[in-house]
């Protein structure tokens, strides 16, 4: 796992040297600071793999067990570290298998560069073996993509790819390279990209908008903040914390934004959205000023748009102009990088506290606690709850662990109850809702930050979508902790069937294999917990392990996640049962 990475300066701004396209590509990646590539070899990308073999002292290639796993691992790597994740695949099916991860990275603004091999340029368009139009296929789900057909294009295009992936609102870029361009030789030299004339990553902020926003915030009686991943992507955690603390405004988060400030922060009032907390959802429709920071008003956050915060003056801090007024009309749009705009607005903000307003959040939290949280975290019934497993992980990790969740009930429970002391702690598939995300993403996260504890919390359904990545864990020895919350159901779909389809459980019950045996087959330590009294010791054993560890917790089969805003309902209509 350790790569003795030479300084990236080695290949930056050096005199030109005649080398092949594939060697040039590897040098470009090293020059961009890439230390790990997740990928899968095949015919059209073989020349590059041959170079990776030569350069293995400088750059590590991790063989995932499926190309989708490579993209999710690259995403996990990027999400926890803020660096660009890199995935690689061959043409045809190799390339198409990347698409889910690319779409996930696009909707969750994850910086990622995908490199695919392509059939030789003279065969393009001829339905050659393993030819697929991956540039055409990936166009709607990439921030940018490009096909290279000549070796000499490689340095400039790769430089541009990394620049675009990481700048502004980050996103995935796909570069497709024909096999002949990999083989051809040319005079290689590498310079990083410093700008693209048609692309403005960060819009200039408007001082008037800032002044107006500050005035609205200072005059507010019951303001509320909803922050999203933009705070984390903009590395604006400190600026955000200062803003929250000085303004005294209750701050709620989207699942992509959590961990930007510690969950224990007194001004944190919890999660908004479909399975978010009762208070921030309810009070969205009572606040007089809604301060949205680095979030995009996803429908899972807003519920019925025509009944979302209509009483409030909306201030939207946002880097992407296309997000302004897309879903919710902003009364004041503060365009720009939140790291800058939040720092700029801070001196204009009056120090305040809103004791009565905060009390409302506390009162509603008490209701939620009695109706939902108490039974989730301190159950008295026999069956184990997902919530108590999360609580145990919190207790034993002290909130230090990064929690990588998949999609479904366990994800909502993980996002609701996980405690974080550090930013970039919650890694989950937010926008796309990609089952199968967590296991490979956890591998990428662990490899990017080996010093950090990484716990993947996965449902029994999603786990089996990328279960083959246990092979990657075995081979790389990535010390990922895996917790499968097994209810033998596709739990979230089952919950909807129970609530909205008269309990017709169509294809949601799962007959599962022996997960412990499977993990052991990959030589991963494994344990199953079925009783409450075994839980604490099992989690302790998992946390103490220096290696990968698999823990299956058999939880109550038909538990539901509440609160819940039914699809299409208003945030005010949030249900506690």
């Amino acid at each position: 796992m350790d790569v003795k990475t030479k300084s990236k300066k080695t290949y930056l701004n050096q005199p030109s040297e005649k080398i092949t396209g594939c060697e040039a590509l590897v040098r470009c990646l090293i020059a961009e600071g890439v230390d790990i590539i997740y990928g899968y070899p095949g015919g059209a990308i073989m020349p590059v793999y041959d170079e990776l073999y030569k350069y293995q002292e400088e750059i590590l290639h991790v063989l995932t067990r499926h190309e989708q796993g490579a993209t999710h691992a690259a995403q996990g790597y990027a999400r926890i570290s803020g660096r660009v994740g890199v995935a690689m695949a061959t043409s045809g099916p190799g390339a198409t298998n990347l698409v889910t991860g690319i779409a996930d990275a696009q909707i969750d603004s994850t910086p990622m560069v995908c490199i695919t091999g392509q059939v030789p340029s003279h065969l393009l368009g001829s339905d050659a073996f393993q030819e697929t139009d991956i540039v055409g296929i990936s166009t709607p789900v990439t921030k940018w993509n490009h096909q290279i057909t000549r070796a000499e294009e490689i340095p400039e295009v790769i430089a541009k790819a990394f620049y675009i992936a990481r700048s502004g609102r980050p996103g995935p870029v796909l570069i497709d390279i024909t096999k002949d361009a990999q083989f051809d030789t040319f005079d290689f030299t590498y310079k990083q990209c410093e700008g693209v004339r048609s692309y403005k990553p960060v819009p200039k902020f408007d001082t008037n908008a800032l002044t107006e926003a500050a005035k609205a915030i200072n005059n507010a009686k019951n303001p509320m903040i909803v922050w999203g991943q933009g705070v984390i992507l903009g590395e604006a955690e400190e600026e955000f914390k200062n803003f929250v603390e000085k303004s005294g405004v209750p701050a709620a988060w989207t699942i992509m934004g959590v961990s930007a400030i510690p969950t224990a922060h007194p001004l944190n009032v919890g999660m908004v959205g479909m399975h978010g907390n009762y208070a921030p959802n309810k009070l969205t429709n009572e606040c007089d000023v809604l301060i949205a920071i680095g979030m995009r008003f996803d429908d899972r956050v807003t519920g019925k748009l025509s009944d979302y915060a209509t009483q409030a003056k909306v201030i939207h801090f946002e880097i992407d102009p296309a997000e302004i007024d897309k879903n919710v009309k902003a009364d004041i749009a503060v365009l720009g990088d939140v790291k800058e705009t939040l720092a700029e607005i801070l001196p204009m903000i009056e120090k305040k506290s809103y004791d009565n307003w905060h009390q409302k959040f506390k009162d509603l939290l008490k209701i939620e606690f009695n109706k939902v949280i108490k039974d989730d975290l301190h159950p008295t019934k026999e069956g184990l709850t997902m919530g108590e497993v999360l609580k145990e992980i919190n207790t034993q990790s002290g909130g230090e662990a990064a929690i990588v969740s998949d999609v479904g009930q366990h994800q909502m429970i993980a996002c609701r109850y996980a405690e974080f002391t550090q930013s970039r702690g919650n890694i989950t598939s937010g926008g796309l809702g990609t089952m199968g995300f967590a296991l490979p993403a956890a591998i990428g996260a662990k490899m990017a930050t080996p010093e950090r504890e990484v716990v993947a919390v996965i449902g029994d359904g999603g786990y089996q979508m990328t279960i083959q990545e246990l092979g990657t864990i075995f081979q790389t020895k990535a010390a990922v902790k895996i917790v499968v919350l097994n209810n033998d159901f596709l739990g979230m779909v089952r919950q909807w069937q129970q609530l909205f389809f008269d309990k017709r459980y169509a294809s949601t019950e799962m007959t599962n294999p022996d997960f412990v045996t499977i993990a052991k087959g990959y030589h991963i330590q494994a344990k199953r917990v079925t009783k409450r009294e075994e839980l604490a010791d099992a989690v302790a054993e998992m946390m103490a392990s220096k290696q990968a560890y698999f823990l299956e917790v058999c939880v109550e089969k038909e538990d539901n996640v509440f609160p819940m805003i039914p699809s299409g309902a208003s945030v005010s209509d949030i249900r506690l049962e």
Binding site: V135, P140, W144, D320
Partner: protein
């Protein structure tokens, strides 16, 4: 902003790159918006392409579309205009049997009155070209169809705006 649909002309200045057409048309496709016509050509700036796209939609949505078009890396700038904001026209061509030109006196009058132009004449057919507003072209089409049209084709709308679109300055700002 009301929810009535209106005809808008969208002008998009872009880099001249393969694949951009796909990227731009996908934005309309996602929202199920029918593109009435699209024209891509060089622009007044060397190396910069210009898309002229005609759509029927609400102003609220056309604004969102503009945001999503501009977000594409190789798009320099996108604008939307009402018909009143632009000078616009379309072109069309008719292929008609040559005999008719000599046998049907009426055709010669139609050509003269419609400001159409004869591009070529040979033994079998002649080709008529007309540029103008949609209704003028449609009227000419109606009048000629009585006699029989061998082929007809009409181009997408092209339009220039009455107000300035500051592209050159934007590009200059990048270079500095």
């Amino acid at each position: 902003m009301d929810n009535t649909t209106k005809q808008y002309t969208i002008s998009v200045y872009t880099e001249n790159n393969i694949g951009l057409l796909n990227r731009i048309s996908a934005i309309f496709q996602r929202r199920h918006i029918n593109i009435e016509s699209m024209n891509i050509s060089v622009s007044e700036i060397e190396g910069v392409s210009r898309f002229t796209i005609l759509v029927n939609m609400t102003e609220k949505n056309v604004r969102k579309i503009i945001g999503q078009i501009e977000k594409q890396i190789e798009v320099i700038k996108a604008f939307y205009h009402t018909d009143e904001d632009t000078i616009y026209l379309e072109s069309c061509m008719f292929k008609i049997k040559s005999d008719l030109l000599f046998e049907e006196r009426q055709i010669q009058n139609i050509i003269k009155e419609s400001d159409a132009r004869i591009v070529t004449v040979n033994r079998e057919f002649f080709v008529l070209e007309k540029s103008g507003r949609r209704h003028e072209i449609e009227m000419l089409h109606r009048e000629l169809s009585v006699f029989g049209i061998m082929q007809f084709v009409r181009s997408g709308r092209i339009a220039v705006t009455k107000d300035e679109m500051k592209i050159t300055e934007m590009l200059a700002a990048f270079n500095n």
